[in-house]
Amino acid sequence: MSITYLEAIRLAQEKALNEDPRVFLYGQDVGNFGGAFKATKNLAKEFPGRVIDSPLSEDAIVGMAVGAAIEGMRPIVEMQFADFSTCGFNQIVNHAATLFYRTGVPCPIVVRLPSGGSLGGGPFHSQSMEALYAHYPGLVVMTPATVEDAYSMLLEAIAIDDPVIFCEHKFLYYHLKADALPESTLPVGKARLARAGRDATIVTHGAMLHESLAAAEDLATDGYELEVVDLRTVKPLDTDTVLASVARTGRLLCVSEEWPWGGVSAEVVARVTSEGFGLLDAPPVRLNAKDTPVPYHPELWSVHRPTASAVADAARRLLHI
């Protein structure tokens, strides 16, 4: 049996619908059509009345989820592309994220964001929004990078009483596969050591994990061992695991598909330099996407985002080789 990242997301929703009567799905085309990416395929048939097509209204989708959450339900809403969540941004950051602090009533919603670049996506179907949401208090922001995490973290997201922004990476949907679904998982907020090494630490998340692992393989042929930390959730961000790794290697490279101003890589560097300055043997390096909208043409896009070879180049600079 081989399970894709996308199928893992579908299976997690199926399991949640099966086990928890409070769970329902709301979003554009999620019903009989099964979702733009088929992440909800067959679920409307399997759970009549609980997988509901919404109008093309991101604000209303999230707003309705907030109301349903107040009434004790556990809505999972799909933004067709993470990019369109800007149209629902207000309800996410000003309503869902503030509800508990203001009123004492939790807001257990999951907002699924099909995120990041994929071939031919272009400026409005490629964005990485995790840093924007992580900036707001009250939101948990997950960025699963593996099939196993896509499954187990989505189940955890649904179980959490607070709003969760679930940044699932479209680039991983089809070609990332696993043999089986996980039985157990790391706790929410715990980063994973994806590869052990001694010479430098790469901290990354989402699709960039795989580019980073490929770069680490590349450098291994030169005799350099890179440690790779997969953040898994960017909020909370597991500072301890990052610092422990930097303590071992003395060098830090942050790789992120986000734009360079601010963001997860900037946050990681800020924390490591303020908390672990003495651990560093060299200034930390950040590798981000280029500071332009995400280009449509594959030739442009392959240079816009960090790829394995760009990560390997950055790692070599960090190691002065």
């Binding site: 707003g63 109301g67 009434e71 009123t103 208090p137 959490i160 909370p236």
Partner: protein
Amino acid sequence: MPKLSEDASVSPTEFIKAYRVMLLARVLEEKLASLYRAGLIKGGVFLGRGQEALSVSVGLQLRKGDIFAPLIRDQAGRMAFGDTVLDTLRTYLGSHLGPMRGRDGNIHRGRPREGYYAMISHLGAMIPAVAGGLLARRLKGESGMLGATCIGDGGTSTGAFHEGLNAAAVEKLPLIVVVANNQYAYSTPNTRQFACQDLVDKAAGYGVQGYSIDGTDLETCLKTLKTAARAARDGGGPQLVVGTLLRLVGHGEHDDAAYVDPNLKCSNVGRDCVLLAEQRIVSEKWAKAEEVAGWRREAEEEVNSTADRVRREPGPDPADDDWMAFSQPEFADLYCIR
């Protein structure tokens, strides 16, 4: 404009009940204004003077178990739904003991677990929230419930208003959206706000029932909201009620509203609904003028004694706040909360 139901008539008892809630809201708001002038309120004060008849008529249609998301000028509707002088003053004066515990203030108050949603400032946002609450109730197998939310003429221009009302209409949810067209959104007049003849014209576009009424006349407001509530509860889908009236105060107490057209003030739109209701009660001989004056004194006593009490209550202590935005603190970012 649909025909009002035959049994939507309003008895003198109902009229008086509504009036007394309006009066209490009016007296309370007068107190808020004076506390503001005395510098005792933290932040702004936003009053519903002139909008009490429409607002109370919404609140009175709602029962325990229904959902209400009032907006900034709904003191009367809030009190009809069960909000209290005490909670209002505690929120305005920043008492730690109020429902918002000093974390949010003034009109941003509610008790969501009791169906009383706490508005956010972004106009239109509460429409989908109430719709979602109703959808949840339906998913849980409940029926006969009603949700209501209020907005102004300015709020109808937002995307959230459109998205929320449209989505609620698609789901045929038992929702009433009440628009108080008080002629100005802060300083912006209707002529710069919308180009349709009457805001109720929008109802047809959403496929919902619309009502356009004189928002200064209590009996009309009560009858209309009663009809709309029944229609929504009975499966008629969302109902859009537009009441025409004039905001008889500034946007907030900091605003002298010098921009208001003086002709509007002397027109029917500018009539004071509380005064009109009072005159009706006396002229119909439902109560004597002295009795009405007694009701006002009662309201003033409740408001003044509650204000005195709340003013002695402690504000929030920053050292006691847990500074936690998560209901499950284990998911907070340790680096951020230290």
